[in-house]
Symmetry: C3
Subunit: 222 residues, 3 copies
């Protein structure tokens, strides 16, 4: 008999594994040593959930008290370390797994925030943060602007999935139903964005403004 | 009848709006998409207060439970997205608004820390952190050294304003009085620093040391 | 009569001082102003412990409630600001002090996590995090990939020291004994790594994979 808790935990662990893979691949590409690979795998797989837990007051965070999260991250790191070529060749599957991981995290994160009594808007935001937080810190640690800030409906998909769970919850639907709906929506949006190169618009700059809008422009105003 | 709580909340929301503007401008200059702009607006406007709330144990943080903070950040992001040229042309006014936001955050942050029973020194530091935290994470997310670490009495002004509130509190002054004094001090310092290009000193390096002091020099000692 | 609490606090303050020195040196090398130097000194010396305290729910963190941590960090920053050439010439001693600081932090961090009832695995990880967290944020703030992710058994030494404390605790040894053993192990590993340029392996890439494994490669999968 599978309870909701078991189901949420399974989703979380699955998401952790695929996110940890993406962190490990980034670490190998930066020539980090094996320990750096493991750290980046753990960070990418767990920091989204850890941040959510800090913000809702669920300390110590599940990623620290439940050793399976660490184990899953370490396995992902070691697999990448040992068979980088293999993992890297799996780029398309990894993208799909990553979309699955994002869906898992977004719906599990939103549900946990709801259970801790947060408002619907906050719970949806925290679901999104659970999905994107790990990848953001991964990119910060390799000194790059986070991918999630500029591509492919990534955060939007997470927010859509998380919002579905929250709305389902408000409508009194069983969690299983809204989780599946939210997961399908998040995965579907992300899948279509990858496949059809969907992008969100960037700000429209006049030719004039474009000449001016070099990065140094925002250095003066804080 | 305006209570202290209403007043503090109003200051906080005003500060959030101008900080969110500066985050959105930085995002547009990096060509982030509209969602990246909204995220950077929210981060810049709210992370200082969120960090303060985490450190004093006020979870979930006000920026998550009170939807007005999100609304104000999203409006600032959308305004910048839609009228970037207009917002960017307002650089000098934005600098002044930013100084006002810094003052709001520093005094409101210090007051909240005092109310949570922190020591005077800690409360002053937390007031400063509330003021500078959002801008620091904004710069980290666009992969740059935070402006606040190298310019124009920014953090010093925040610390001066926060300290004034704390000292006024210890002296038994009504909050309104010390808040106004702290705000004027912070805003005034920042205004003078912008106008007269005041800078804090950097370390004096001998010609010899200067040749050596390239960034790679600190790579060996951790 | 020295109690365990006094001893742990002394270790913590000693570690804070040497870590703050390394943060201040990095800030001077980036030409930050005196306030930026102080901020980076405080961050490097205290963020590891602050993060640990957030994660175990010990808020407000000791680094904020106990003003000695601030004082020690400020002194380290001012010393570096005033005598940069002197501090920089002490590179080898600073490396040794840094190894000592790492040992202090790792064993004190692990012990505090044990006292807060965390599981052995979590406590060992938190000890390591206490040791490496400050240096990681220091490098993030100067927009670089953290040193600790790619060099010289740094995090491994911290993990070994922290694990020794945790294992000693499970075996019922007095804290003094396991702290000394863990500290010697951590310091010794780090000392040997510096002296003999020990490195951990990086992932083996075929010639083919190496050509492909440029940093842009991980940009597509999140």
């Amino acid at each position: 008999m599978i309870t909701i808790e078991t189901f949420v935990r399974f989703l979380d662990l699955g998401g952790t594994f695929v996110f940890a893979l993406s962190g490990a691949v980034a670490a190998v590409n930066r020539r980090l040593d094996v320990f750096g690979i493991l750290v980046l795998a753990f960070v990418t797989g767990n920091v989204g959930g850890i941040t959510r837990d800090l913000l809702i007051g669920a300390v110590p965070p599940a990623a620290l008290t439940d050793s399976l999260y660490l184990l899953v991250s370490v396995v992902a790191g070691l697999v990448t370390f040992s068979w980088y070529a293999g993992v890297d060749r799996l780029r398309t599957p990894v993208l799909l797994f990553d979309a699955a991981g994002l869906s898992f995290f977004a719906i599990a994160g939103a549900q946990k925030a709801v259970e801790f009594g947060l408002s619907p808007v906050s719970a949806a935001l925290l679901g999104m943060l659970t999905g994107i937080g790990g990848g953001m810190l991964r990119d910060v640690l390799i000194a790059e602007i986070p991918q999630v800030l500029r591509s492919d409906l990534y955060a939007v998909a997470a927010l859509a999935g998380a919002s579905t769970v929250v709305i389902g919850n408000m409508a009194g639907l069983p969690y299983g139903v809204s989780a599946v709906a939210g997961g399908v929506l998040c995965f579907g949006l992300r899948f279509m964005a990858i496949r059809h190169r969907w992008h969100l618009p960037t700000a429209h700059l006049s030719a004039n403004a474009r000449a001016e809008a070099d990065p140094s422009n925002d250095e003066k105003p804080h």
